[in-house]
Amino acid sequence: MIVNDNKIPDMPPPASTVGAVGWLRKNLFSSWANSILTVVVGYIVISNLIPLIDWVFLTSDWLGDSREDCTSGGACWVFITVRLEQFIYGFYPESEYWRINTIFVMLAGLIAALIFEGTPKKGWLGAFTLLIFPIIAFYLLYGGAFDLEVVETHKWGGLSLTLVLACVGIVASLPFGVLLALGRRSNMPIVRSLSTAFIEIWRGVPLISVLFMASVMLPLFVSGETSMDKLLRALIGITMFQSAYMAEVIRGGLQAIPKGQYEAAMALGLNYWKSMGLIILPQALKLMIPGIVNTFIALFKDTSLVLIIGLFDLLAIVQAALSDPKWLGYSVEGYVFVAFVFWIFCFSMSRYSQALERKLHTGHGAR
């Protein structure tokens, strides 16, 4: 028989396995090779980071109104701050900026409300965002109703144009993509071959050529006077192109749903659209979030290609500003700014998709 009466008090774990030192030892200096790698990589990172920080922040100039104010030798952000309005609003008349601001604020508010956990009636809010809000936004941007002055689309530009292209592309390509994916899996041969042909044709050509065709070729075919707005043509081109990609992502998700789910839905008497809408798509979309967001991010960046058909999105308008003789030589600042803005938007989408995935995962239980 063994009896052990002396109680061992709780001891802290040995210092070498916890805390900062423990972490460093375990992850960065666990072996000779690892230590050398850590030192080399650390040297490369730090030796590049210091000049970068120096250029971006320490020796940079932020305030002023001409290149003469850039005296510190680092980045000349004056170029950006002076033209920031143009970069955001394009050639939109200054007196009407409030219209774009209103849309920005509304959109930001709606997205925040949709992300926030406790919002009641999220379904209705989502439907409003997708169906009603675009109409409001259109009339605000374009005008022509409620006594608002019409602002022709060739005056749109900068970040606001980029966001218009991206939002319309995202909102329109998802439903089209769903329909195309369902069409490609349909039992009806005509629907199936049409969907397949559509997807393969659009997926097989570069977006640049789609945009070119939309802006140069389409007017040749569409008869004479009824000239379609250039922005509208670009939007249609982008939407068609991205729906084809979206369709393939969605088809991948649909294929992952077991056959038994379709059968159970049918056996309960649900018709095709109800089984898709209530059973199959909700499950498939959850699986497809990473792929869908990946497509959205690609779409967002691809919007910058519209510059080749003469639309001034954020990148194009910054490029145009770079060729201003008063600001020659500040292209690095311009491109860094554009890259940073694009990155902010794409990175937010990526974070949101990760949060969404986590939420749906815990919410739906295992299986």
Binding site: P258, G260, Q261, E263, A264, A265, M266, A267, L268, G269, L270, N271, K274, L278, I279, P282, Q283, K286, H364, G365, A366, R367
Partner: protein, 254 residues
Amino acid sequence: MSTQNNNVSSEIMIQLKGVNKWYGEFHVLKDIDLSVSKGERIVVCGPSGSGKSTMIRCLNRLEEHQQGQILVGKTELTNDIKNIETIRREVGMVFQHFNLFPHLTVLENCCLAPIWVRKVPRKDAEATAMKYLERVKIPDQAYKYPGQLSGGQQQRVAIARSLCMNPEVMLFDEPTSALDPEMIKEVLDVMIELAHEGMTMICVTHEMGFAKTVANRVIFMDGGQIIEENNPHEFFDNPQSERTQLFLSQILAH
């Protein structure tokens, strides 16, 4: 032929006349004739690949037959989507792998079809669902997701889900063969209770105990044909065909 004819009426519920089906060149169902009266409990057995699943899946058009006639109630199964939908509303089906909807709670699984197909108000649908969940003895799991339940519980939910549509006929395709032995009984108990309440049932199963207690008729299939059809007593004690004898000796051996 049948001995256990309690509450079997003469009203015909399901009728198959000369049904044939092919998968490509492969002849799966050969001249199937069968008629099932209201309140009857039929057990279908036979070796793997004999066409049992195919036959009962033809009854609600999960599979399409190419020749012959299938009548459910008074409706004939044709390509007319109206007829198919009418029949699917009246015929419940329970699958080997449960096929619950994993993104919905147990209660939502049960309410979905009544709400969307029968247009029952949500409150009534939920009340009915709770009633059937109580019948299958898992009302306390109503707000869980299927992934959080055991196999036996999932299958009982699947039965409740079908019952919520208030079907005239229930089809079971090997409802217990994906279950661990200790869970088989809980599912069979529910099915036995259902049989005693007079539900018309067609059940593909190898649970011979179940066949002996509740079936009016046992059907033995092999190679796409109905080889033998008899009341359970005669079927087990005095099988007529050689293939039936061989099959019974194999499944009763262990």
